[in-house]
């Protein structure tokens, strides 16, 4: 177990190092002038270019820049934003709550809806409920997230304005709980609809596989009641892939729920990233990207560990 964990962590560190290196090369490889030009934009005067070259040390050899880049990264120093002149870590910490609340709230919704839908679908495959669910899933999967979000905003503002829902920046629940709900409900639902569709499919497929197994037949043969078969025997085993997927998704989403945050103007990590790309705010982009990669890597390690507990057949070598 320890050996497995160690190997897994080493692999994770390797992936992170590769990500950091790739990002570094993407932004800094090439002649200093063109790098600075790319950062400053095509219309920037030559003085700005020179200033950028100086502050970033672009005139140093590439490997020297790389070493200091990695060194800073290891110290948790992500640099200072070009635009707001604040440390990138501060910006990230400010954006984190929005993303965290969005993912947490939405996860509750989509897991509830997804697993329920999947179980309902799987208990009577090809029945009426299954077909209705399938159509809903297809809709959830085919509608692009941003269109769903825009339609929701349109409905909230034009058709049901009395709900008081609307897009807006993140408000802390400690400051204004009502305002928090008004801002968060739509993003929660929007993200949950898209995610739930995937989870219904996953749960349904996994349930159907499990219900076809021999030990389920044994349970039926010995006369166990149907609901007990489905919940005690079936669902428990069927949830393993669902939980695996859940872990991976949480990791991915924590790095920034880019589209949902953008549509609703919620200021989270994703929105921070998009804004920085538009503004050419390089240190923020790099910091956010590496943070996102770290979330994914960590989530994957946790999932692998959880998997070994959930599925007795998997033993870690």
């Amino acid at each position: 177990m320890t050996r497995f964990l160690l190997r897994r962590i080493l692999f994770g560190v390797l992936v992170l190092w590769l990500v950091a290196t790739t990002v570094f090369l993407l932004f800094f490889a090439g002649p200093a002038d063109s790098v600075a030009r790319r950062l400053a934009g095509p219309r920037a005067p030559i003085e700005v270019i020179n200033q950028i070259k100086d502050t970033l040390g672009l005139n140093r050899p590439l490997w020297e820049q790389y070493v200091s880049f990695l060194g800073n990264l290891l110290h948790g120093d992500l640099g200072i934003s070009f635009i707001s002149q604040t440390p990138v870590t501060t910006l990230i910490v400010q954006s984190l709550p929005g993303t965290l609340w969005l993912v947490a709230g939405s996860a509750v919704l989509w897991m509830t809806a997804g697993i329920t839908g999947g179980v309902i679908s799987a208990t009577r495959p090809r029945g009426l409920r299954d077909r209705v669910t399938t159509v809903l899933v297809l809709a959830g999967i085919s509608v692009p997230t941003f269109i769903l979000g825009m339609l929701m905003i349109y409905l909230a503002l034009s058709v049901f304005p009395w709900f008081g829902l609307g897009p807006g920046p993140y408000i802390s629940p400690l400051v204004d709980f009502r305002g928090f709900l008004q801002v968060m409900i739509m993003p929660w639902v929007c993200l949950a609809v898209v995610q739930a569709a995937v989870y219904v499919r996953l749960t349904r497929g996994s349930m159907l596989d499990t219900l076809g197994e021999d030990y389920i037949r044994t349970a039926r043969a010995k006369g166990a009641p149907e609901h007990r078969i489905i919940y005690r025997h079936g669902l428990r085993a069927a949830l393993t892939p669902v939980i695996t997927q859940f872990g991976v998704d949480i990791g991915t989403l924590l790095g920034g729920v880019v589209v949902t945050e953008s549509v609703f103007g919620l200021q989270g990590l994703g929105q921070l990233m998009i804004r920085s790309v538009r503004d050419g705010d390089l240190p923020v982009i790099i910091g956010a990207a590496i943070l996102a990669a770290a979330f994914i890597v960590i989530a994957n390690i946790l999932v692998d560990v959880a998997y070994s507990f959930l599925d007795p057949r998997v033993r870690l070598a």
Partner: protein, 315 residues
């Protein structure tokens, strides 16, 4: 029953027909596809959208509205808000007084271009790489499989954002980024299929006849890959179109002035309460296109399904 007795019984041989031209698996699949109403309607919808995209300049000439031209005097109300659908602007005008209909047609060009081109690229490279890796196996295959897993486990939107930030937005980059992720999906499927076929007896038969590896791959493996590859490619097209729209919506896709469905939708965000058509028409175009490709893909999958093969084969 002894062997010699049985030998006297003639094996059933179909009686001679004047022209014996077998219906191939492709022909059978096509016949099944034409019987699938949803798939045929989808095919029709796709044909209309392609036609509209091709004819976009014609419509621009007929209406007299260049996609980039702004008509503040006739496209905007006296308060400066976009006007709705009417005789001059068939689907209304956007916030700058440009013709929404003409812009949507030009947007279709971008969507289809990105969707088809990136899928084509991904398919060609995915099939070749997946087939070689699967057929030759060994450590190259092991490394490739691992790399594909890592690529597919990363959220492509984040990767696209970083790439756009580093290299600047544009259609070629977008096609490349989308093609790269589609390629990973395609290569993985093709690799798996190739490995499954590699151990089949007809591959062994080809080897025993003295066929070279490359010939065996292209003559014996490739025809068996066409079915899964076609299905996956058809389903990758709508994914690519949505990806393009999403990137353009976020302002990371094509140049914001270029009419693209995602960019048109992003522009509409402050005005769709006044003029809902700004939201509804582009959204409908995007949904219709992706739905049509998805249904067509499903139809092709059903038509090529080997399980239904048996029902239709003549005995």
């Amino acid at each position: 029953m002894s062997l010699t007795d049985a030998a006297t019984e003639a094996e059933h041989v179909p009686e001679q027909v004047a022209v014996v031209q077998g219906k191939g698996p492709w022909q059978l699949a096509w016949e099944r596809l034409t019987r699938d109403r949803a798939a045929m309607v989808s095919l029709g919808v796709i044909a209309v959208i392609v036609l509209l995209a091709v004819l976009a300049p014609v419509f621009a000439a007929v209406t007299g509205h260049d996609p980039q031209e702004q008509f503040p005097s006739i496209g905007l109300s006296p308060q400066g808000l976009p006007i709705g659908p009417g005789s001059g602007f068939w689907l209304g005008a956007d916030s700058l007084g440009r013709d929404l209909f003409v812009r949507l047609l030009y947007g279709a060009r971008i969507s289809l271009l990105v969707g088809l081109l990136s899928t084509l690229l991904a398919t060609v490279f995915g099939v070749v790489v997946g087939m070689f890796a699967g057929f030759y196996g060994g450590w190259v295959d092991g490394v490739l499989a691992r790399v594909l897993d890592v690529v597919l486990s990363f959220p492509y939107l984040l990767v696209a954002i970083v790439l756009v930030a580093a290299l600047g937005a544009g259609v070629p980059l977008m096609i490349f980024v989308i093609a790269f992720f589609s390629f990973a999906a395609m290569a993985r499927v093709v690799r798996g299929q190739t490995i499954a076929y590699r151990e089949r007896e007809f591959i062994e038969a080809a080897r025993s006849l003295g066929a070279g590896k490359v010939r065996t791959m292209f003559v014996d493996v490739l025809p068996n890959l066409i079915a899964p590859v076609t299905v996956l490619a058809t389903l990758l097209i709508p994914t690519s179109i949505v990806f393009e729209a999403t990137l353009s919506f976020l302002g990371l896709g094509v140049d914001p002035r270029t009419p693209s469905w995602g960019a048109i939708l992003a522009d509409s965000i402050d005005f769709f309460r006044v003029s809902p058509g700004l939201l509804i028409f582009p959204a409908a175009m995007l949904l219709l296109t992706t739905l049509a490709f998805n249904l067509l893909g499903d139809g092709i999958r059903d038509a090529l399904d080997p399980r239904s093969d048996r029902l239709h084969t003549r005995k």
